[in-house]
């Protein structure tokens, strides 16, 4: 159990900057999810924490002590690799026990620790198996057990669920969270799957192009995306480019009032309105109108694609609402964000349609 601090972490490869000035402070027992598209620098950041990549600049502290100069074998971190990296020539037991043997523990002590880890990860009875005899989920558990028996202060998980099928992924996701909370270990979890991050994390760090775009709770990430990238990356979002005129942003035929507390820089006349489909509601008296061109059934709800003149807008409606193509509709926005220069400048919330 420990706190983890990243200070201005930077890594360059040749001319390209893979990770740029990433600073994060993580509390005891917290699970941070690093989220972003491939190549955003999330895995590089994780590997720098594990000691497999040396940062060009910045510092890494665990409980206030710098570990940035230590090799991986001397860091109190443990990593679960994306493809598990179980040693194929060792049994499950030996895979888990290897690190303990290196620490010269007694046989009984190792036996007991490994047994506990097998129980914790739901693997009893599998200790004599070899990795190639394991299913994906079991291999995942062994990798987790191997990391946990060493009682690391920081647990690092590199896309641990990406090799599992959809059903198993959900189960393992909950299981990892469960174990993490039981052991109460500070954890960094790298993923490209936003749903995974939203479900499992205490906080999410969204990364793009080597930068940390936003570091916040899943709720805040979803409801207050700090940058245009986060707004577009997380969840479903209508992004409507427009121009600023008289306290409003005009996006084609749709005008959005700029909220009172918005802090526009005024450097340009361009802005982007971001509004989630579920924040757009069909409303006979709504200020916007358009024509339904398509209805997409998503199971628990439907998405209507509405042609609002110059813009196509997606509006979420309930599963049972039948709105045929060609229907003319009026709608209003309950909540929307104004972005200028790619940064969130203000959020408008209207109360009348609540």
């Amino acid at each position: 159990m420990a706190g983890l601090t990243l200070v201005d972490l930077t890594k360059r490869y040749g001319g390209a900057t893979a990770v740029s000035n990433v600073s994060i402070t993580l509390n005891d027992g917290e699970l941070l999810s690093l989220l972003g598209p491939s190549g955003c620098g999330k895995t590089t950041t994780l590997r720098m924490i594990g000691g497999f990549i040396t940062p060009d600049e910045g510092d890494i502290l665990i409980d206030g002590q710098s570990i940035v100069r230590l090799p991986p074998e001397r860091r109190p971190t443990a990593m679960v690799f994306q493809r598990y990296a179980l040693w194929p020539h060792m049994t499950v037991y030996d895979n888990i026990a290897f690190g303990l043997q290196l620490r010269n523990k007694s046989r009984e002590e190792i036996r007991k620790t490994v047994d506990d880890a097998l129980v914790l990860t739901g693997l009893p009875g599998k200790e004599k198996r070899y990795p190639h005899q394991l299913s994906g989920g079991e291999a995942q558990r062994v990798a987790l057990a191997r990391a946990l028996v060493l009682e690391p202060r920081i647990l690092l998980l590199d896309e641990p669920l990406s090799n599992l099928d959809a059903q198993l992924r959900l189960r393992m996701r909950d299981e990892i969270r469960n174990i993490q909370q039981r052991v109460n270990i500070t954890t960094v979890f790298v993923t490209h799957d936003q749903e995974e991050a939203l479900a499992i994390a205490d906080r999410i760090g969204v990364m793009n192009g080597g930068h940390l775009e936003q570091l916040a709770s899943p709720d805040e990430i979803y409801t207050q995306p700090a940058t245009l990238f986060v707004a577009s990356f997380i969840g479903n979002m209508n992004l409507l480019p427009g121009s600023i005129t008289d306290g409003a942003v005009q996006c084609g035929l749709l005008g959005f009032a700029i909220p009172q507390d918005a802090r526009l820089s005024g450097s340009t006349r361009e802005a982007i309105i971001a509004v989630r489909p579920e924040e757009l509601v069909l409303d006979g008296h709504g200020p916007y109108h358009g024509q339904v061109t398509q209805s997409i059934n998503l199971g628990d709800h439907k998405l209507l694609v509405v042609d609002a003149g110059e813009q196509l807008v997606r509006v979420a409606v309930a599963r049972e609402d039948a709105v045929p193509r060609g229907t003319a509709v009026n709608f209003s926005a309950r909540r929307y964000h104004v972005y200028e220069d790619g940064v969130l400048r203000g959020t408008a919330v209207s109360n009348d349609t609540a």
Binding site: F52, E73, L102, R146, L150
Partner: protein, 276 residues
């Protein structure tokens, strides 16, 4: 997946394939089979299909002949020494080719192949000329050196492929749980590369055991190994002597082949031949 198009034309193709495979088996196996019969033939004259007299007389003769016994002994001294020397010289290089990045890595790796691009007998004659000057002719060391020539490529290339096939995460995971350099190598890297190293060692062992031309040029007259003495046996002794000796010389190959077939079929042999 179906390759039926190859055979679809008619049943004729099948018959043709059968005949071709039969012809191939005859071509490859019957010469060896001939020697097998000769080894147990006390008397066998044309045109009798089988020997008129069968027996083990020539086996006794071979086992009681001092020259042949010495050749066998010498061969089995050279083979393990050459294998170990080759491994000591090439395995660190194979590891470095796989795990280190240094200038000229790729060109150096490929240039090893130049060894095989030399017409062998010409090379041995030239090596002999150099060995005359260095007083290495007809010495144990000289023969070991000349036999090493044929092991360098496979002893470097096959283990390099074996090291390359180990995912780096497996080593990283060992570092992660606290293992340092040598420990990671001995506990993780080496065992995982072992099948490839075994295949390369078997090939080196057999290359040394079967090497005749270089040993003949550099090692005569006092370093006569089994294959070298075969030259004399073939021309100066009755057929059964050569045949018995052929079987003795093939036995190690056979034993090694059978005991290591698990590794040989695992694609390491082909990996050593993959040029790209």
């Amino acid at each position: 997946m179906s390759y039926a198009w190859f055979l679809r034309i008619s049943a004729m193709r099948k018959a043709l394939a059968l005949i071709l495979v039969f012809a191939l088996s005859c071509f490859l196996l019957l010469p060896l089979f001939t020697l097998l019969i000769w080894a147990f033939a006390d008397q066998w004259t044309f045109p009798s299909l089988l020997p008129q007299q069968v027996g083990l007389r020539w086996w006794q003769w071979v086992f009681h002949n001092g020259d042949l016994g010495n050749a066998i002994k010498l061969s089995f001294e050279f083979a393990p020494i050459v294998t170990i020397a080759s491994a000591a010289i090439c395995l660190p290089a194979a590891y470095a080719f796989s795990r280190f990045r240094f200038p000229l890595r790729r060109p150096l790796f490929v240039s090893l192949l130049a060894i095989n691009a030399f017409p062998k007998i010409g090379l041995y004659i030239s090596v002999a000329a150099l060995f005359y000057r260095l007083n290495l002719m007809d010495t144990f060391l000289g023969v070991v050196l000349v036999q090493l020539i044929n092991t360098l490529v496979s002893m470097t290339w096959i283990p390099t492929a074996a090291f390359n096939s180990i995912a780096p995460e497996l080593e990283e995971a060992a570092h992660d749980v606290g293992a340092r350099g040598w420990r990671v190598f001995w506990r993780i890297t080496f065992p995982l590369a072992l099948p490839g190293i075994i295949v390369a060692s078997i090939l080196a062992f057999l290359a040394s055991l079967d090497e005749a031309q270089g040993t003949l040029v550099v090692g005569t007259p006092s370093h006569i190994t089994m294959p070298v003495i075969m030259y004399t046996l073939v021309s100066n002794y009755p057929q059964p002597v050569g045949a018995v000796f052929s079987i003795l010389l093939s036995l190690p190959s056979l034993v090694l082949l059978i005991s290591a077939r698990r590794f040989l079929t695992a694609g390491y042999l082909a990996a050593g031949f993959r040029v790209k």
